[in-house]
Point group: C2
Chain length 356, copies 2
DNA sequence: GTGAAAGCGCTAACAC
DNA sequence: GTGTTAGCGCTTTCAC
């Protein structure tokens, strides 16, 4: 089984076989181009015979559109992102766009891979859990390449972003804990200066403050398992054990639950309530049944792609910040408040009467 | 904030600014090309000033090498695949290749997206948990595009593949169960005709058979959560409850554990031992502590990429089937045999004396 | 070592 | 509706 690789079939060869010009072939494969059904048939027949497929690379070169979206993800352990990736790939596929995947550094910086992305002349960029330096934002803007930050935002407003309402949802988490009459509050954060962490922490602390609660222990898990384990240890081994912990995302929250149960023998939710953020796969598994804010992946992806498409088609970049509401899904990792939890389509949600 | 998108900088513009020919610019960006350091400096300076980046699309067009590898994944819920994807993307990046991601259909068929892949003139294809029809295999072979099946194989031998030693590992699982004196055996399979499922089931049943055990209940979870739940129900609600279950992958095994514990109140491992395959993230979490065959993702990815590179560089396709050994990692979802479990670098492995 | 020139496979005016 | 032609931005001979 040995064979030299052959050059692929070109439109020229198809044209020859079909007895038409090369441009007729091109037109036969361009939706909406002016070509007679008869010619088109001849061309398609010849193409089929030769196994011809238009060369997307060549097309890209003179349309100046690659139909490729560069996507950077740096946090695969958090199931939320694979889910985003899958949804995004499917969505782009329906629009006949394609997804060039890059893996970001651990620290969530893209500068190193930015060159690579730009060399492929992508039509747009999605950064999931990754930030873009100001320089690069400017460069994209100058180059006319739309960028969407996914689950992250930046202050400059030079790039678009799609997020859930982190701060409001975090406030609701605080309200939930308070309604269930918890006493000792804690927060396990992610990378301290990530926009999402900042918003969630701020909302949580602010709402607690409004209830006169200012003694909140804050530790940091850095979105990373080992660090989260350390954070959880410090939380449980010194001082009074908290009975209400909001963890900045589910991935860390599950780790916190495991440490609480298996290292410290704590009972959830009897002595300790835990809430996460993302509502991703394992959170719904009965072993965890984690109360969590559900980020609507499909809506967020749709919004991101729509933003991208609008900017690509118009050739104009007008950054927009989109906020999609998340919902607090109540499961069994938390003590329940007497009021405010409602049942809807088989899941329990927290919706207190008074809207903030 | 509104700006028209501008055409990107071209090598022609850089040449003009540097006062050299356009080909000098090209050579400056081609490693190993014959160019004097002086000229190169001038060019790089001009390039920096203009923010020039070589256009990979244009380059691809006349080198007939896209430096893009098409990757198809269809099973994101199984953490194993995101992990593979991340590892693969990092590996390709170090070789200056790029990853065009496609999502396969639920049924693991790629025919629909095959056109898309081929249009981008990828230099190679990785199919993870996805099969390729014979027609398409032939087409790739004819087009000189190397294909590697990852965690799947096919009989025709027209495509390369990388797998762990499914059958041998499955035999070892049987030996493990038998050594711990289990009585009632079961197997929860994946998609019935997937190569991996066939090999695992065959190895497991064959080894049990050699021990005189032929009464093994076989149900099917289809690699899919809902179906796995149904399979587990049927396993636990009719006939005597098995005390030894091998589940074809971890993703399904965790579901089986949850159903056993939370729907049927069964105790693991006291009344029931469960073993999975993949040893992916959640399996190591203390809530599950699933005994599982560890697939060495890094080695498997390295092997896949190496295969690809060899074929790309030689321009010759010689399919190879690579088998990477997996290791049975023993945790707490199983009763332990008296002998054969050894400790190594902090993990417990099963390595019976007699090698089969 | 360097520039001129051809051409990779295609799209998009432009005439007819 | 169709063929002719001129590029898209680059790499790669080929002379010099």
């Amino acid at each position: 089984m040995k064979r030299k690789s052959f050059a692929a079939v070109t439109s020229q060869q198809v044209a020859q076989l079909a007895g038409v010009s090369q441009s007729a072939v091109s037109r036969s494969f361009t939706p909406g181009a002016s070509i007679s059904p008869a010619t088109r048939e001849k061309v398609l027949k010849a193409a089929r015979e030769l196994g011809y497929r238009p060369n997307a690379i060549a097309r890209s070169l003179n349309t100046a559109r690659s139909r490729i979206i560069g996507v950077v993800v740096s946090y695969f352990e958090n199931q939320f992102y694979p889910q985003v990736l899958e949804t995004l790939a499917r969505k782009l596929d329906t629009l006949n766009y394609h997804l060039l995947l890059f893996v970001g550094d651990r620290d969530g910086n893209v500068d190193r891979i930015f060159d690579q992305i730009m060399q492929y002349r992508v039509d747009g960029i999605v950064l999931a859990s990754v930030s873009l330096s100001l320089d690069l934002s400017e460069e994209c803007l100058a180059a006319g390449i739309p960028v969407v930050l996914f689950n992250r935002s930046e202050e400059s407003g030079m790039a678009s972003s799609v997020n859930s309402n982190n701060e409001a949802a975090a406030r609701q988490i605080a309200e939930f804990f308070v309604a269930a009459e918890h006493q000792r509050y804690a927060y396990v954060g992610g990378v301290a200066d990530s926009s999402v962490n900042i918003a969630r922490q701020r909302g949580y602390l602010a709402a607690l403050h409004e209830h006169g609660i200012d003694d909140v222990r804050v530790v940091n898990g850095d979105y990373e398992t080992q660090q989260t384990i350390r954070a959880a240890y410090s939380l449980f081994s010194t001082g009074p054990v908290p009975d209400a912990i909001f963890v900045a995302n589910d991935h860390m929250a599950l780790t916190v639950m495991d440490v609480a149960r298996y290292e410290f023998g704590l009972h959830i939710p009897e002595t300790l309530s835990v809430i996460g953020y993302d509502d991703t796969g394992p959170s719904g598994w009965p072993s965890y049944a984690l109360t969590s804010v559900s980020q609507p992946v499909q809506e967020m992806v749709d919004a991101a792609v729509e933003l991208l498409m609008k900017q690509i088609e118009s050739g104009t970049i007008e950054p927009e910040q989109i906020i999609v509401p998340g919902i607090l899904v109540v499961r069994h990792s938390t003590r329940r408040p007497r009021n405010g939890v409602i049942e809807k389509e088989g899941v329990s949600l927290f919706q207190p009467q008074e809207v903030k």
